[in-house]
Subunit: 462 residues, 3 copies
């Protein structure tokens, strides 16, 4: 016995601690941390999902009542068809084993080449809501005049191809291989470029191809403001987006650890600074602080901090947000001047401030300032614009040729709710312009023969 004693002790040493820890189940701290990572990543994904509601409310609030049903349909559909497309194709292109330019495995959850199948599901869940964000950004820029069929077609292409391919360049090293941009050391922690600029530059291409709304620019080149129809829901949308961004940025750790705290702080700081900057600038410039610009200023700050949220200080985040809040105001004015009609300012908020955020992540890098880093960030910014804008132009032009991007003049004047969906968003209210088209049927018992309907019942019943 005696000579086996040391062996026995070693056996006990190896075995007993596990027994002590695991009276009911063989849990280790690592296993619990792994569970915590799942919980954190999924809750973050759920918050990002809620950004869909935020985008829908912002876009509807900033546009006219006669198109509100169409906007709800678009936002519901870009997520729904987008999720199916990202499952089938996009996720594999973005995160499958990559040649540096696109992934080639893991379509339809076919592979489990990574950290095990369960994590693939969690990671997909986090990524699908990002893909949907990129897709829905475009919606606002082409609002109030785009065919619903064209909208669905391009949503599929964006979620399945355009977004994932750029994504693979910057974030593609999940399983095997590495995207060419991340190989250079490109910093884009949560997607100022990957998500927001891609969406913004696609939005720019879409707004150019579909053209401005009727009446936005007159023959003398003057801009005619078209006011949003429901500012409280637009503001609600901004609050929901800000809330969802706490999933977007801190969640991008996909690890539930202490690093998420700084990210939450920088996200908050930049958003607050962006709102303050846009509010103050419009007050100075126009004598009154502008609600639309202020709301977009908060979003600009959020987009601006997205790339650098994990590698800049709180004070830098304030500067990044202030610059973004100023930038978005001038950018909106610029695109109006060159007659790109973007009803909600999506190009400025997501495209321009996404580029700024990507640059800022280099400038304010807490690892220290380096011209090399700035150079890489500029390469990423340029690659993003080139890819998304050119791919967008091709996509939207192709759709325009095949099925047409734009509704007819008559349909646009009547509103897309009526012309595309046979519906009205607010049939119980007297609305401007719509009043002459609709005869709502809310007359308490008597029926109206011609009222279009938008409720749980379909438009026509046989």
């Amino acid at each position: 016995m005696k000579k086996f004693f040391p062996i026995l002790i070693v056996g006990l040493l190896l075995g007993l601690p596990a027994l002590v820890l695991a009276e009911d189940a063989p849990l280790t701290a690592d296993a619990v941390q792994n569970n915590l990572n799942f919980v954190w990543t999924l809750i973050a994904a759920f918050l990002v999902f809620l950004m869909q509601a935020g985008f829908a409310m912002v876009e509807a609030g900033f546009t006219r009542a006669k198109n509100a049903c169409n906007i709800m349909m678009k936002n519901m559909m870009d997520f729904s068809v987008g999720a199916l497309a990202f499952w089938a194709v996009g996720f594999g292109l973005m995160f499958g084993t990559t040649n540096g330019f696109f992934g080639t495995t893991d379509f339809f959850f076919s592979g489990a080449s990574g950290d095990g199948e369960a994590w693939n599901y969690a990671f997909w869940m986090f990524q699908v809501v990002f893909a949907a964000t990129a897709a829905t950004i475009i919606s606002g820029a082409v609002a109030e005049r785009t065919k619903f069929s064209a909208y669905i077609v391009y949503s599929v292409f964006v979620s399945a191809l355009i977004y994932p391919i750029f994504g693979s360049w910057a974030w593609g090293s999940l399983f095997n291989g590495q995207g060419w941009l991340e190989g250079l050391g490109f910093i884009d922690f949560a997607g100022s470029s990957v998500v927001h600029s891609v969406g913004g530059w696609l939005a720019l291409a879409g707004a150019i191809v579909v053209g401005p709304r009727l009446g936005k620019y007159d023959k003398n080149g003057n801009v005619k403001p078209i006011p949003g129809h429901n500012i409280p829901i637009a503001a609600l949308g901004v609050f929901l987006l800000w809330f969802g961004w706490y999933g977007f940025n801190p969640g991008s750790t996909t690890t539930g650890d202490t690093s998420i705290a700084l990210i939450a702080v920088t996200t908050t700081m930049a958003a607050a600074a962006g709102a303050v900057a846009a509010m103050a600038l419009t007050w100075i410039k126009y004598g009154k602080s502008d609600i639309g610009m202020t709301l977009n200023g908060a979003l600009a700050g959020l987009v601006g901090i997205t790339a650098g949220c994990a590698n800049v200080s709180a004070a830098s985040a304030v500067i990044i947000g202030l610059v973004a809040g100023v930038l978005v105001v001038f950018s909106v004015l610029f695109f109006d001047k060159i007659k790109v009609d973007d009803p909600v300012g999506a190009v400025s908020v997501h495209g321009v401030c996404g580029a700024w955020g990507t640059l800022a992540a280099g400038i304010f890098d807490t690892a220290g300032f380096s011209l090399h880093t700035i150079g890489v960030q500029l390469i990423g910014i340029a690659a993003c614009f080139a890819w998304a804008f050119v791919a967008g132009l091709i996509l939207f032009k192709a759709i325009d040729l095949v099925i047409g991007m734009r509704v007819t003049k008559e349909e646009e004047l009547a509103g897309l709710d009526f012309s595309e969906h046979g519906a009205s968003a607010y049939p119980d209210f007297h609305t401007v312009h719509l009043g002459s088209v609709f005869t709502p049927s809310d007359n308490g018992g008597e029926s109206s023969k011609t009222a279009p309907v938008a409720s749980a019942q379909p438009a026509k019943q046989s």
Copy 2:
């Protein structure tokens, strides 16, 4: 000393690891996992709570402006009286030590027979929001013509008795004993039957007893669509419900572990597929995609995946969602044809698609197809319909006899906001029909003698 040496070693082996682990506190990995389970379960419960806001917005958005205050009151009250009733009676009936048909302990938190008192609180919190979901489903089906007093009375009975008793059959084995349905092997992970079908079949009974809204069906048997008054808030409601469902389904693990990832994925897939199916079907059927049906299609997919979210594949979830999205369209048409007036489609979304989901959880079971499983699922579906529909008929008929289910014709025409609460949801707007009843007082300084009010001030002040 030498002969005590082994004892010393064993002592050290047992004692030291704990010391090593627990410099500040005697934490084990199991204890941390337990804490994680609390955090996960409670956050999931909070998300499910937010579904109350979603139901309120969907129901208000799909009905008329003149009843919107009443709908807010109903939704606030079914949760509030429901929570008190579930605390007093429902939780004990559902989860107390059971004879197979109902529980008999743990009323008013009186018992702590389970995993310790703290877990009872966490579990109650998760369950109370489920009970409230079942109760609030009915609200939409009886909207715009039901007495508020009747509404409160039946909410108490649903939360205290009808919902918990069926729940105990399927989920009652928390403490001691087992419900008869779970004893058969019935699969309903998150409640396609337990929550949604129970709510949906109660809604069917309610809609039948209270009868259709004035003007919905004319003398010739034609259906007169009554359009919803605010589609953007209805869509917001659907997004909030979808968001809350990420608590509903993944949270039903009540354990923060890796199994939640697949559940989040199947939930997403089915919802997306349901929305796409309803959108495409109405487009094909009517020439235009219908907003109300599309929104209900997303909800149909969510209800459909609820039973099987943890035991079907992502691809199966797509099929389940597609079928649910088609089913909800035909079901809404069917109930309109047989003149059951369900303003928001609650019977179709929750009752019919809940039954489909329960069956689908058997059909697509990743454990393999088995006729026995299908049989058990069918028994569960039938038991659910029999219990909820019959109990509902008795309940609503009894209420109708004692206090009356329905407001008068005059009250219905004037709107329940005015007749039940002396209020107007939108006094600053010119609304159809309401314009002739109300003289809103927003005249900037001058007063209106007769204006009903709905604000933080009570309707009448003495």
Copy 3:
């Protein structure tokens, strides 16, 4: 070798368990718990952030359409300027090393005197959303007649000075030292006094200084109700606040452990009881249940349970909520009688019910009833009123003297949306009173020369 054997064993005992635990990373259960605390505290903070959306919706819904843009601006700005002010000054005053009356370190994240830098960020994130809550409470009481410039100025002072100083008295012992109130044993777990009463008494001071809205009280002393313009969004706001309160109360543990479950339960119970009490009381008193009061009843219950959520039983929470729901009704009537015009009932909900909650945390303390505890609670309640009300009077009077608190009569009649922001919240709708001021431009192509705009485009474009 033999004599070194015990040393070897001890070495193994100390070293091996760590090796066994940490195959990939040197994780301990304590480290995972620490990570869990970060995840929990931050998610709770995000929920509290969403309360900003809730406050915005409640305030807008309970006031008139012509001021809705202004209310959105105020709510966006009190968080944004408040966050910057709390970063610069407030956090240090509240949690820096304290002399008992205010903190003197940790401005601009300058110190890391506590549990390490990362935790400072997490804790700041949780506290900044509390500070913003206190600030935004005031907004509703001074709504519809306060200058936007005055609003911004006082928001800075509240977030930087008034809120943090009282906070340091009750909660200041984060790093070194202790506030004088907590030294006495003052119980205010999540801030019935620290957040809600401070906000409510500041709101009282603000409402007194700014004076009632035009037309609220006539020459004969009669109260003229001014109805809220959008009850569905007000109700949505209450649901969002209730949801956010699940971050506010349970999150105040800042530790993810089993104690959060009881807090979630007491929070739910009190809110439900408050809503039921206010609903029933107004029904009895006026013959109809009042929607505004019922919604405020739920909030009253939430405010009432905030101090004692962790140290009272579920049954006590029901009583606390019932009392709060009754109290808020009589309090609203009282303040109307003494002609303090508080459009949303903020003083009653937050000030009065916050005081009640602070007292109730002593009365229903599960540690047992003690006159000493009651005495301390009363001291805290009195100190809170004295500090916040007097500081508020001074602040608002000073602002009134320097820049003016109130808009002109003409501006108030026209609405603050137009006069302060050149905007309209609902330009596509025919609204009462606004119809004569605005000529909305939604005319599908033809332009209106004079339309004010509120969208992503600024009010005036050069």
